[in-house]
């Protein structure tokens, strides 16, 4: 009667059973994100964004509201997911690699950007044309960081102008006026006075991080990579490390930072207690001071970096996070306009200060009256923060932070270089030669 033979029927049963089981076990997978083409009930186009900082989400929520106010025909609704740093980066990398599942826009930290430029075909949208009208006001080094082959792929939140934060309680006690410190030699001499009069270290050196070192290399207008090769053993880099090492061993005005890093809890506590007279960190360190070093409110003076020689820059832009439009975005043109307008317009740029406490990427707004309005930062540092920073605006150096070999070079420096040189007084030139050698070997192997 049956059309199928017994054997075939057996197979059919098995197949049907399999389909049944499969449909059950895979049911959980289908309930993913709703498609971004969807509109909300009130007719706004829906887009997704990934970031790893809660306050960045607040900033973008505000940016979307502003956009909707200014563009009544192009209403958007931004769904923002805040994920932990590592997790967000892994997810984004996998999603972009596999060609689906990526958000429309995303935050990419400067140190992570390099891995996306490995192929010279970044999985992000080119925003060069959108950025163009704002170029004259943007701090150039900041857009350069996210430029590959002349195309801009992301816009940063801030400049990260590196400053020296002096603890004036200690400086006054030692009778040293920071404004007389012009060169690193002056700084060391001042440090000796501070150490002698108060017994307090002038500063700290990092062993598991490289902010001060990179700032020192950048201010000499040098770099860490050239022609795809690590060049840490060249003069500028050796001078930087030697200066830091001498502070510890020769002049004894510095010690290795608590936790090996100036941006960790142990260090905040130490600096708050007045264990150091000064620290070199980017402008975003202000937020750490406000949150973690309440004792020093009203006692910090900020100033540009000392220089090595005439012609050096007095600052460097360090750290950063770009917002990018991914190549999987739904309405690319609209989102590119949205991202650029939110960050580079005058209004948006000022908000990176008022909401996030960053030094805006548009240096022309630094002196706008908005920047002096009282907030938790002006309460702590005084209202003239940007007046003091404005003198540095044309002296912000940068490095090839987003060169695709940069992560390997930094990794080698922090693994085989800094700890040895700073905690065990290893010979600077020899160590950096070795770091170059092993970094170059790795760069070559990965090509």
């Amino acid at each position: 009667m049956s059309v199928l033979s017994a054997g075939k029927r057996k197979i059919m049963t098995l197949v049907l059973a399999l389909i049944l089981v499969l449909s059950f076990s895979l049911a959980g997978c289908s309930s993913g994100d709703s498609p971004s083409d969807a509109k909300t009930k009130d007719g706004k186009a829906q887009y997704t964004m990934w970031t790893f900082v809660q306050v960045h989400a607040d900033y973008w929520k505000d940016a979307a509201e502003t956009w909707n106010k200014n563009h009544p025909d192009e209403q958007i609704n931004l769904k923002i997911n805040v994920l932990p740093f590592d997790q967000m980066n892994q997810k984004l990398q996998v999603a972009l690699n596999s060609g689906n599942g990526a958000p429309d826009i995303a935050d990419v930290e400067i140190g992570q950007f390099a891995k996306y430029t490995k192929t010279n075909k970044p999985p992000f949208e080119d925003i060069t044309n959108e950025v163009e009208p704002y170029n004259e006001n943007l701090v150039k080094g900041r857009t350069d960081n996210y430029t590959v082959d002349g195309k801009v792929y992301g816009l940063d939140y801030h400049v990260g102008t590196t400053l020296v934060y002096y603890n004036m309680d200690i400086m006054k006690k030692a009778g040293v006026d920071p404004s007389t410190i012009k060169t690193w030699d002056d700084y060391v001499e001042a440090g000796k006075v501070v150490k002698e009069k108060s017994g307090i270290y002038m500063t700290s050196v990092e062993t598991s991080s490289q902010f001060v070192y990179t700032a020192m290399v950048a201010q000499q207008k040098a770099d860490m990579v050239r022609d795809d090769k690590s060049i840490l053993s060249e003069e500028a880099s050796v001078t930087a490390v030697q200066t830091l090492q001498d502070m510890v061993y020769k002049h004894k005005i510095a010690k290795t930072a608590e936790g090996g890093h100036q941006d960790v809890e142990e260090y905040y506590a130490a600096f708050n207690k007045g264990k150091y007279a000064s620290v070199v960190m980017p402008a975003w360190y202000m937020s750490r001071m406000v949150s973690f070093m309440p004792k020093l409110s009203g006692k910090i003076k900020i100033q540009g970096l000392p220089i090595f020689k005439e012609g050096d820059l007095r600052s460097a832009g360090l750290g950063g996070t770009a917002t990018v439009v991914t190549n999987q975005a739904h309405d690319k043109d609209l989102l590119k306009k949205f991202v650029v307008e939110s960050k580079a317009s005058e209004e948006g740029s000022i908000k990176t200060w008022t909401i996030l406490g960053f030094d805006p990427i548009r240096s022309d707004v630094w002196l706008s009256p908005e920047m002096e309005k009282p907030n938790k930062y002006t309460d702590y540092f005084g209202t003239d923060i940007f007046k003091q920073m404005a003198v540095l605006k044309d002296e912000v150096g940068t490095l090839s932070f987003t060169h695709n070999s940069y992560p390997i070079i930094i990794d080698e420096l922090l693994t085989n270089g800094m700890p040895k040189m700073m905690t065990k007084q290893a010979d600077v030139q020899k160590t950096l030669d070795a770091v170059d050698k092993s970094a170059n070997k790795r760069i070559k192997a990965g090509k």
Partner: protein, 313 residues
């Protein structure tokens, strides 16, 4: 006639047989049906990635849609890679120390806990088990601060009473290994104790009674009854310790992140993680994964065969 008979008989005799056959078929299918959710999940989420990573270990993957087969290039690179040997040396040392401590010590504790004269047994069992319930990351953070190089760090302040230190714990190979092993022992002592305890409780009392009648000493009883009887447990603990040792990640990642001075905290997994997610070198990361798999399987096979477990007892 005969033809007729067969014609008559055969349909009759065939149909019950057929029904019987169908039943058997369903019975045959049912178990597969029941295990199929696991099998499918295993195929999709374990076997497929596993096979794919073996394939990827022969490729150069420079990110987005750019993959090229490069034959044994990755493997050649691996055998010339000093960091790989450093990682191998680190995990081997770590595994050695954890096994050296985490088998005799929990066994001793289990013996004490199993002794009928021990007071507050249940209380102590819970105490030893509590560390397992904590999160490795949080524990790692606490220990990281405890192992601070500053004189105010917990361990350094203890040592200061003996006029030793301060020691830069997490910056030297030996002390760093100590810091890793301490966390591991603190955390897994209780679990291993429970394993051994369950083994001890399964040993029939009669064996000990017989031995006592024959005049065996406590040591004789331990050596000739307890140890052989808990052999399966020891094997199990040894195997999972080797697996855990070689896949060490959390503790070292919390202590140092992906970069440790002179690679003193680099393990297979941190190196794989770094290669894949910070260098974006997925092909080489897969090669490391494949080699790690081969090494762990080899060590466990050796361990099991040396201990004679393939022989029928």
């Amino acid at each position: 006639m005969t033809n007729d008979i067969t014609a008559q008989i055969s349909p009759k005799s065939k149909s019950p047989l057929k029904r019987e056959k169908k039943k058997i078929n369903m019975q045959k299918i049912a178990p597969y049906l029941f295990v199929s959710p696991f099998i499918i999940v295993f195929l999709v989420f374990s076997l497929y990635p596993f096979i794919n990573s073996i394939i990827m270990s022969f490729q150069r993957i420079s990110g987005f849609d750019e993959t090229t087969f490069i034959g044994l290039e990755n493997y050649k690179r691996l055998f010339a890679d000093p960091v790989f040997y450093k990682a191998l040396w680190n995990v081997t040392r770590y595994t050695f120390w954890t096994i050296l401590i985490l088998i005799p010590l929990p066994l001793l504790l289990a013996l004490v806990m199993n002794n009928k004269n021990t007071k507050y047994k249940y209380f102590f069992r819970s105490i030893f088990f509590i560390p397992v319930l904590t999160s490795t990351v949080i524990v790692g953070l606490v220990f990281k601060f405890a192992f601070s190089k500053e004189p105010t760090g917990v361990f350094n302040s203890w040592l200061s009473y003996l006029n030793i230190g301060p020691i830069d714990w997490l910056n030297n190979s030996g002390t760093a290994m100590f810091a890793l092993v301490i966390v591991c022992v603190w955390r897994w002592l209780g679990v291993n104790m429970i394993y051994f305890l369950s083994g001890l409780q399964n040993i029939p009392r009669e064996l000990y009674e017989c031995a006592e009648i024959d005049g065996a000493s406590k040591w004789d009883k331990f050596k000739s009854i307890t140890l052989p009887m808990i052999k399966p447990i020891t094997t199990y603990v040894l195997t999972i310790s080797i697996l855990a040792g070689f896949s060490l990640f959390n503790e070292t990642y919390v202590y140092w992140g992906a970069q440790s001075p002179d690679n003193i905290g680099t393990t297979f997994l941190t190196y794989i993680y770094k290669t894949a997610f910070s260098d974006g070198d997925f092909g080489y990361a897969c090669t490391l994964g494949v080699i790690m798999f081969v090494i762990v399987v080899a060590i466990n096979l050796i361990q099991v065969s040396v201990r004679g477990l393939f022989k029928e007892d």
